[in-house]
C-alpha cells in the first residue's frame, strides 16, 4: 500500500514516500531533461516559491501609482521625480500587474498548478472508482486503534460494523473477517475544484478583458446620453469589441438629488445621499422607463451597468453681443475643487462676437467671504450661489486642429480684460443677473445652476463566470480543508472462549484532528449495542 501509487502528488509532497527518485539520478537524455524540468516546475517547492514570489512582486504596485487605477498619480509622479520616472517606467513599474515579469510569475504558477492538478484529477477519478484497500495485518500499529470484546456471531458483528460505517458515509468492502472502509473523497475533489476554479477565474478574466468595454460620460441635468462609441467622453474596449457591440439605448438625466448633512455638527456638509433620476429609452421599445441610480445601486440595461461615480455643478450661462443677439448659451460643467464644492470651469465663445472670448469661472455654491476678502464656498449645496468670471479676449487656439481640453483655457495668446490682475473687477453674478462685458463686447447672464452626473458604463460579459468560479474556489477550499479523508478498518477475531475480540483502526490522509475520536465513537457504538464484556485498550 504505497502512497505514491495511489496519490499522484508532487515528489516533494509531505505525504509522498521518501526515495521516489534514485540517489544521484540517472543519465538524462533530451526527453529526460524535459521531464526533469517539468517535474521541477510541478513540484511543491516550486509552487511555494512562485507563490511567495508573486506576493513580493505585487508589492511595488502599491508603492508606485498605477496607470490602470491612478493615471493622475503617474503624471504627478513624473513631475515629482523626473529622474526616477524613466527608470520605473522602463521596469514597467507603472503597469506592474500587466508587466512582463509579473505576468510570467503568475503564468508559471498556473502552469505549475495545471501540471500538478491534471495527473491528480486522473488519479482521483480512478480512486473514486476503486475499492477500499485491503485490511493491514496489524491494526494496532495504526494511529488510532481501539479494541473491544463483545459476544455474538462474528458474521453478524461484521454486518453491523459495515452498516454503521455506511451510515457514516464510508465506502465499505469486506475482506474475510474484516471490513475496510474509506470516506472523504470530497476532500481531494474540493482540492481539485479549488485549483481548477483558479484557472477558470484567470481564463474568464482574460476573455472578459477582450470582450468588455467601459466608458465615462458627463451628463448635465436635462440632457440625454446615447450609448454609442461617439457618445462617450472617454471609452476603453477589449480587442474583440466592434462598434456595433454597443446597444444604442438612451439615458436622460432628469434630476440629480444630493443630500448633505446639516444636523451633525461634526459632519456638516458631508454628502449622505446621491440619487440620479433618469429616463431610459431602449432602442427596440417605444416607451421610456424611469429609474434611479445610486452609488451602491448601479442601473442595469441590456447587459451593461451604469454607475453614478461623480457629480458637480454646471452653471447655465448666456452671452450676448452688443446688439443683444445670443452668441453662446448653455450649461458648462465645472469641476469641483474641494469639500465645499467650490468649482472651476471654462467657457469658450469662439463665434458670434467681434473677437473670440474665453472665461475662467469660479462657482461658489454657498458664497462666503474670507478675511482676505476673497470669495469662498461655505457649504456644498446651492444655498446662495455666486459665479465669478475672469474674462479673456483673443485667439482661443481652437482653429489649429489640435484637440484642446474643455476644462482648461490656454491664456498665452489671450488678453485678460476682467478679473484679478486687471483694473476691471471679475464679473460677479447671482442667478438671473446680467452684467455688461468690458470694452462693449456684449453681456453675460447667469441663468442658473444645473447639476451634472459623471456616469460610468460597463459591459463585462465574463463577470458572471468570474463570480461562479470564485464561489467554486470557496466551496472547494472548504471541502479540501475541512472534510476529513480517512480509512477505517474493523476486524473480528473469534476467541477460544466464544467471545469476539474486535479491532477498530483508523488512518488519516491529510490533516484530520478528529480521527481518534471517530474511531473511539465507532468502537463504542458497535460494541455498545452488543453486551460489552471486556474493557477497552
Amino acid at each position: 500500500m504505497s502512497r505514491s501509487s495511489d496519490l499522484a502528488r508532487p515528489t516533494d509532497h509531505i505525504e509522498q514516500e521518501d526515495g521516489a527518485e534514485p540517489v544521484g539520478g540517472p543519465r538524462l537524455g533530451p526527453i529526460g531533461w524535459v521531464r526533469f524540468a517539468w517535474r521541477q516546475l510541478t513540484s511543491m517547492r516550486t509552487a511555494l516559491f512562485l507563490l511567495l514570489l508573486l506576493a513580493i512582486a505585487a508589492v511595488p504596485g502599491s508603492l508606485v501609482p498605477q496607470r490602470s487605477s491612478d493615471p493622475n498619480g503617474v503624471v504627478q509622479y513624473r513631475a515629482d521625480h523626473p529622474d526616477l520616472y524613466p527608470i520605473v517606467d522602463a521596469l514597467q513599474g507603472f503597469d506592474v500587474y500587466t508587466s512582463v515579469w509579473f505576468s510570467s510569475i503568475y503564468l508559471l504558477l498556473f502552469v505549475s498548478l495545471i501540471g500538478c492538478v491534471l495527473p491528480r484529477t486522473r488519479q482521483h477519478w480512478q480512486a473514486m472508482r476503486s475499492r477500499p484497500p485491503r485490511t493491514p495485518a496489524r491494526l494496532s500499529r495504526l494511529d488510532a486503534a481501539e479494541e473491544r470484546v463483545v459476544t455474538g456471531d462474528a458474521d453478524d458483528a461484521l454486518g453491523r460494523a459495515e452498516a454503521l460505517l455506511r451510515k457514516r458515509r464510508y465506502r465499505t468492502e469486506r475482506y474475510g473477517a474484516s471490513i475496510s472502509a474509506e470516506r472523504g473523497y470530497l476532500r481531494e475533489t474540493g482540492n481539485l475544484v479549488f485549483h481548477g476554479s483558479l484557472v477558470g477565474i484567470l481564463v474568464a478574466v482574460a476573455v472578459g478583458g477582450s470582450l468588455g468595454y467601459s466608458g465615462q460620460k458627463i451628463v448635465v441635468e436635462g440632457e440625454p446620453f446615447v450609448n454609442y462609441v461617439g457618445g462617450y467622453d472617454s471609452f476603453n474596449r477589449g480587442r474583440l469589441v466592434p462598434d456595433t457591440a454597443l446597444d444604442p439605448y438612451r439615458i436622460r438625466l432628469d434630476r440629480l438629488d444630493i443630500v448633505y448633512e446639516r444636523e451633525n455638527e461634526n459632519a456638516v456638509g458631508q454628502p449622505i445621499d446621491y440619487t440620479a433620476h433618469v429616463t431610459v429609452q431602449q432602442p427596440d421599445s417605444g416607451s421610456a422607463a424611469d429609474a434611479d441610480i445610486k452609488v451602491n445601486e448601479p442601473l442595469q440595461i441590456d447587459g451593461t451597468d451604469v454607475y453614478l461615480l461623480g457629480n458637480g455643478y454646471a452653471p447655465r450661462i448666456t452671452v450676448r453681443d452688443a446688439d443683444g443677439d445670443v452668441a453662446f448659451s448653455g450649461a458648462v460643467p465645472f469641476l469641483p475643487q474641494d469639500q465645499q464644492m467650490t468649482s472651476v470651469g471654462v467657457a469658450k465663445i469662439p463665434d458670434g462676437l467681434p473677437e473670440q472670448l474665453g472665461m475662467i469661472g469660479f462657482l461658489y455654491p454657498t458664497v462666503g467671504q474670507l478675511e482676505s476678502g476673497a470669495l469662498a464656498s461655505g457649504f456644498p449645496d446651492l444655498l446662495d450661489p455666486v459665479l465669478s468670471l475672469n474674462v479673456y479676449r483673443g485667439d482661443l487656439g481652437l482653429d489649429t486642429g489640435v484637440p484642446v481640453s474643455v476644462y482648461t483655457l490656454d491664456t498665452d495668446d489671450l488678453t485678460q480684460i476682467a478679473g484679478r490682475g486687471t483694473d476691471v473687477p471679475a464679473v460677479e453674478l447671482r442667478p438671473g443677473e446680467t452684467q455688461q462685458l468690458p470694452d462693449g463686447l456684449g453681456s453675460v447672464t447667469f441663468d442658473g445652476v444645473s447639476r451634472f452626473a459623471s456616469l460610468e458604463i460597463h459591459h463585462d460579459p465574463s463577470q458572471g463566470w468570474v463570480l461562479a468560479f470564485s464561489i467554486l474556489v470557496l466551496a472547494g477550499l472548504l471541502a479540501s480543508l475541512f472534510v476529513p479523508r480517512r480509512r477505517m478498518w474493523v476486524r473480528v477475531h473469534e476467541e477460544q472462549d466464544g467471545r469476539l475480540r474486535v479491532e477498530y483502526a483508523g488512518l488519516a490522509r491529510g490533516d484530520d484532528p478528529g480521527l481518534a475520536a471517530a474511531v473511539r465513537e465507532l468502537a463504542d457504538e458497535h460494541s455498545g449495542s452488543e453486551r460489552t464484556v471486556g474493557g477497552t485498550t
Binding site: 507563490l51 495504526l142 451633525n264 458631508q270
Partner: protein
C-alpha cells in the same frame, strides 16, 4: 444624544483597556512563575509520537506509512494557579466592557460599528478577544493570554490615541449591506490570524528551547510542544484563510457595485491579495517536505505582519479608494 452615547462608549473602552492591562499582568506573572519552576522542557505526548514516528520513518521505509500529522493531545494541566484564573476572569470582564463600548458606539452612529478605522479597531480587537476566549473553552490556550491581551491593549492604545474620530454619517459609498458582510468577515479573518500568529510565535520560541535548553526564553511546562503548537496554529489559520477568501470575494462583489469594477488593483486590493497569497503559501508549505516546523511558522508570522501592515500602514499612508479611515 449621539455625542453622549459616544462619550460613554469611549469611557467604557478606557475601562476595558484598564482591565485588559491588569489581565495582561496576571497572565505574564503566571508565565514567569511557572517558567521559574520549569527546569526541564516537558515533551507533550503528541510530540513524543511525532519524534518516534520520525525515527521509525527513517529506519523502516516501505512499511505501512502513517504519515498523517499527529493528534494534538493537550498536555496534562498543571495545578491551576490563582494568577492564571485572575487573568482569565479579568479578560472576560474586560471583554464585556469592550462589548458594551462597541455596542454603544454602534447605537450612537445608528449603524454597524466598523465604518472607520477607529471602529474597525474597536470591533476587531473585540473579536480577537472573543475568538481567543471562545477557543479557550475548547482548548487550554491560556499560555497565549499574555500575548493576546498584550496585543489587544497595544492596539486599543494606538487606536484611541491615533484613530479616534467623532461619529459621522456614512458616506454614500459605504451605504451598503456589504459593509456589514465584507468588513465583519475581514475582522473575523483577522482575529483568527491573530491567534494563529500568537501560536506561531510561541512555537518559534519553543523550538529554540527544544534545540538547545540554554538558549532562548524559558517557557513553562504547560506549554505544548512545537508539533502541537504548529497543528493548532494551522487549524486556526485555515479558518482565517477561509474567511479571508470570502472577504476577497465579497469585496470584489461590493467593488463591482460601488466602483463599477470587481478588481482594479487598488492599494488595499493589492494588499488583500498579497495576504491571501502568503497564507496560500503557508498552507502549501505544510504539505511540502522540509517546510514544516519553524519555516511555516515564519510564513504565518510574515502573513500576519502583512495583515497589520494592510490595516495600520496602507489605510493611513497609501493613496487608494479604501479611504474610509476618517483621519
Amino acid at each position: 444624544m449621539t455625542q453622549t452615547l459616544d462619550e460613554f462608549s469611549a469611557l467604557l473602552l478606557y475601562l476595558a483597556m484598564g482591565v485588559y492591562a491588569i489581565s495582561f499582568i496576571a497572565f505574564t506573572l503566571d508565565l514567569a512563575r511557572r517558567s521559574a519552576g520549569a527546569a526541564v522542557v516537558a515533551e507533550s505526548a503528541a510530540d513524543r509520537v511525532a519524534r518516534a514516528r520520525g525515527a521509525a520513518r527513517g529506519s523502516a521505509a516501505g512499511s505501512v506509512a502513517t504519515l498523517d500529522p499527529p493528534r494534538a493531545d493537550a498536555p496534562a494541566r498543571p495545578r491551576e494557579s490563582l494568577t492564571l484564573r485572575v487573568g482569565v476572569t479579568l479578560a472576560i470582564l474586560g471583554w464585556v466592557l469592550h462589548l458594551g463600548a462597541t455596542v454603544l458606539r454602534g447605537v450612537a452612529g445608528a449603524r454597524v460599528p466598523w465604518a472607520n478605522m477607529y471602529e474597525f479597531s474597536m470591533t476587531g480587537t473585540l473579536i480577537i478577544m472573543g475568538v481567543f476566549l471562545l477557543l479557550l473553552a475548547r482548548r487550554d490556550l491560556r499560555f497565549l493570554g499574555a500575548i493576546i491581551t498584550g496585543m489587544v491593549v497595544l492596539m486599543l492604545g494606538v487606536t484611541t490615541v491615533g484613530f479616534r474620530v467623532d461619529v459621522v454619517p456614512l458616506p454614500p459609498a459605504l451605504q451598503s449591506y456589504w459593509l456589514v458582510i465584507h468588513v465583519l468577515v475581514a475582522i473575523l479573518a483577522t482575529a483568527f490570524f491573530t491567534v494563529g500568529a500568537a501560536l506561531s510565535i510561541v512555537q518559534l520560541v519553543r523550538a529554540r528551547r527544544e534545540n538547545g535548553p540554554e538558549s532562548g526564553l524559558r517557557l513553562p511546562v504547560a506549554i505544548p510542544g512545537t508539533v502541537t503548537l504548529e497543528n493548532w496554529a494551522y487549524r486556526v489559520n485555515i479558518v482565517g484563510f477561509i474567511f479571508w477568501t470570502f472577504t476577497l470575494i465579497a469585496g470584489a462583489i461590493w467593488a463591482e457595485h460601488a466602483w463599477g469594477r470587481y478588481w482594479g488593483w487598488d492599494t488595499k486590493e493589492v494588499w488583500t491579495f498579497i495576504i491571501w497569497v502568503i497564507y496560500a503559501g503557508y498552507i502549501h508549505a505544510r504539505a511540502t517536505r522540509g517546510w514544516r516546523g519553524s519555516r511555516s511558522a515564519w510564513l504565518a508570522i510574515v502573513g500576519y505582519s502583512a495583515v497589520l501592515f494592510n490595516f495600520g500602514i496602507v489605510n493611513v499612508f497609501f493613496k487608494g479608494l479604501h479611504a474610509y479611515s476618517g483621519l
